[in-house]
Symmetry: C2
Subunit: 203 residues, 2 copies
DNA sequence: ATTTATTTGGAACATTCATTCCGATATACA
DNA sequence: TGTATATCGGAATGAATGTTCCAAATAAAT
């Protein structure tokens, strides 16, 4: 009897969702920092075995970078969604600050923001992180400055300063909020910081 | 012959200046982070032997905390000196921002500020660091708010917002400046951030 | 059920880590 | 000068680290 050549015997498929793993990993990295997180921590947090992690992400640094990038884009998407909810550029800016505020105040483990945390931890020694962090900064500044430009055109936002300069200030303020919130996540104080920070947009 | 009991045979004295060691250690911790810094790094940077470090500072964490505290107080003194150079509260505030700006722009290794760096790296897992960082924040806020109050009394600073609220915003802005500066230490952009951040003090 | 390719768990590995220890050295006073 | 005592250098230690490896388990197609 003639036996056919066998194609395509299919293997076991991955038993986990890569995105979920990236989220779990991000949470650990946020709490313990990059160098404070061990592979053991990651195995425990993700529920994967060492082999699966290495097979899928290469090594610790690879998993970390994927985790950071995923956080970056998913946060970007989140901001897009927020902005879609109103037509007013000024309200969009406020929504971004309120969202950050809320994420600080609901963060019971004091994880903070992975982007800020690891940028402060690693910028001087990790070019990959420095590049991602810089790109994120410029993206945020650009987003803010476009919103300011639009808001100024609509007359919602004071024309006293240029969109570019205000974009930079708003990013800087958002980072200041994260640092303040990490040190003392007190609602009233943080809300007041946002209020004053955004007052520069008014006449 | 009667032999007297012998007191006080004096030992070898320390061959190094403790403060200098704390400064060298701080530089390493700033660049590599707490968990990224090994005892080997510290031995190399300080020039001391392991024994001397352990004899003098207890352990790595002890050296780190002393280093952080020393940075904190020496930076506090520095700000006092700056403020002593003028009678104008508003100029004192500006001097603090300009000093920070200068320290960012002359920081060729991108060390950043140890206080901010380790606060972001360790706040969630190290109560000592969290306490020091919080104390530093409240101290700075208090300094700023006192200056604002004085400036408002002198008519130099707008009375639109309370000293307390402005104190918090100014601290937050200073932290934002450090984060922005870590990501992109570009003089013009940072100077503009300071300019806009301080514009809230004007009428 | 068999085959195939991959995942998976856990042991094993070499390295690096913080810390300890000891002999030698060096200082200040008698 | 001699002695007491702390510092110092470097080897030694044991735990923890990131990574590799292999046998067993497993899913998909035959």
């Amino acid at each position: 009897m003639e036996r056919e050549f066998q194609f395509n015997a299919m293997p076991k498929t991955k038993q986990f969702d890569e995105t979920e793993v990236l989220v779990k990993a991000r949470e650990v990295f946020s709490v313990k920092g990059y160098n404070g997180t061990s592979m053991d921590d990651l195995v425990n947090a993700t529920g994967l075995s060492r082999s699966s992690i290495y097979d899928t992400f290469g090594d610790k640094h690879g998993l970390f970078l994927k985790s950071l990038s995923h956080y970056c884009t998913s946060q970007g998407d989140e901001l897009q969604n927020l902005c879609a909810k109103t037509d007013s550029p000024k309200k969009k800016i406020r929504a971004i600050f309120d969202y950050t505020l809320k994420s600080i105040l609901t963060d019971k483990e004091r994880k903070g923001c992975l982007m800020v945390n690891v940028s402060m931890e690693l910028n001087a020694v990790d070019r990959d992180v420095a590049a991602i962090s810089l790109a994120n900064m410029e993206d945020m500044e650009q987003t803010f400055s476009a919103l300011v430009k639009e808001g100024q055109a609509k007359g919602e936002i004071s024309k006293k300063f240029s969109p570019k300069a205000l974009g930079r200030l708003l990013y800087s303020n958002l980072m200041g909020l994260r640092v303040s919130g990490m040190n003392r996540p007190e609602p009233d104080a943080l809300k007041e910081i946002v209020k004053l920070a955004l007052s520069i947009l008014d006449e």
